[in-house]
């Protein structure tokens, strides 16, 4: 609707979401993932929570578990600078595309779309999107992912979910990482779990350590794959 206001200006209603551009690209990514039966996970955390190491180990565990049955994994690595993480992922045995955001503090759907063109993930596989290490900004941007995973390590504060609730609020799974360090820390695991659930009562929680095989994390991943297969059969 347009109406004349003072000084010959025209007041025009726009009514558009500012994130609509990102959301429309995210919707295209989501359609691609669904059609290709790909489980795409958006991994968010503070810097240093262990996302890359968890991914390296996951790639190795998948390869060791059962070569015939395990879906393949490819990775989109988001960092402000360097190609270090993509190199680490390739050394672990998976395909990886590094996205450098420069001054940007998060990944956007268009960056993922461009990375997918290079990555060419196979049907029925996993695409792990490791977001820029930052608990604030990434949670605002839909990438078209199948599910969101927030990673927190036990070397961080128990009250981090309360201080930075948005990433936990928007996630489907929380991985509590580095639990092998618990004997050396004054860390209240029960308090952390309580704080995570206070922010998001519906979130699933698994504990993980890269020094021991993580059956609950692996089971959650395979459950996502099975759920997607069941949904496709349902269609």
């Amino acid at each position: 609707m347009a109406e004349q206001v003072d000084g010959g200006l025209l007041h025009v209603d726009v009514e558009l979401d500012v994130l609509s551009r990102n959301d429309s690209v995210a919707a295209r990514n989501r359609t691609f993932f669904r059609e290709q039966r790909i489980v795409a996970l958006n991994l968010m955390s503070s810097p240093g929570s262990g996302k890359t190491t968890l991914l390296e180990q996951t790639i190795r565990w998948f390869a060791a578990a059962n070569e015939a049955a395990a879906p393949s994994i490819s990775v989109i690595e988001g960092d402000q600078q360097t190609k270090n993480d993509a190199r680490r992922i390739r050394e672990a045995g998976a395909s990886a595309v590094q996205v450098n955001t420069g001054d940007g503090c998060h990944l956007e759907a268009s960056m993922v779309a461009r990375a997918l063109e290079l990555l060419k993930p196979p049907s029925g596989s996993f695409v792990m999107i490791e977001n820029v290490g930052n608990l604030v900004c990434p949670s605002m941007f839909d990438l078209g992912e199948t599910a969101r995973v927030v990673v927190i390590s036990v070397t961080e504060g128990e009250d981090k979910p309360l201080k930075y609730p948005n990433a936990f609020l928007s996630a489907d799974l929380c991985v509590i990482n580095k639990i092998d360090l618990l004997p050396y820390l004054d860390f209240d695991l029960a308090a952390l779990r309580g704080n995570i659930l206070a922010v998001n009562p519906d979130i699933e929680i698994v504990e993980a350590s890269c020094r021991q095989e993580n059956t609950s994390w692996m089971q959650w991943l395979l459950a996502q794959s099975q759920r997607l297969e069941a949904e496709n059969v349902g269609c």
């Binding site: 726009v14 994130l19 940007g104 605002m140 941007f141």
Partner: protein, 113 residues
């Protein structure tokens, strides 16, 4: 500082809209920003000053209308301000709640010539 990128998006969306509707210059942009949408208005305003340079919105003023964050308890239905997301319902103590308002981040209107 994702607000800087968002400020550029706002200018791009407004410029595209003005162009499609016969406008050649934008003098005002009205934005609705919810308290729980993850945007810091001060940073957005600062980013907007850079984003509008050398565009049809170069002389545009940004007007931000804040939308209060409101939570509703999923157990008893009571509504409360969304100051701290993790606080349980003061009525029944339930942690289960939904955000009824405050996630808005919309370009409402523009003033153009």
């Amino acid at each position: 500082m994702h607000e800087v990128g968002l400020a550029f998006d706002i200018v791009a969306i407004a410029s595209e809209f003005a162009e499609k509707n016969g406008g050649s210059e934008i003098f005002g942009i009205e934005l609705e920003v919810g308290e729980c949408c993850g945007v810091m208005c001060e940073a957005l305003e600062m980013g907007f000053v850079s984003a509008r340079k050398e565009t049809v919105a170069e002389h545009a003023e940004l007007r931000i209308v804040r939308v209060p964050g409101v939570l509703q308890c999923m157990q008893c239905g009571r509504e409360r301000p969304a100051e701290y997301l993790a606080e349980p319902c003061p009525e029944c103590g339930s942690a289960s709640r939904r955000i009824v308002s405050g996630r808005e981040f919309r370009l409402k209107s523009i003033e153009m010539r």
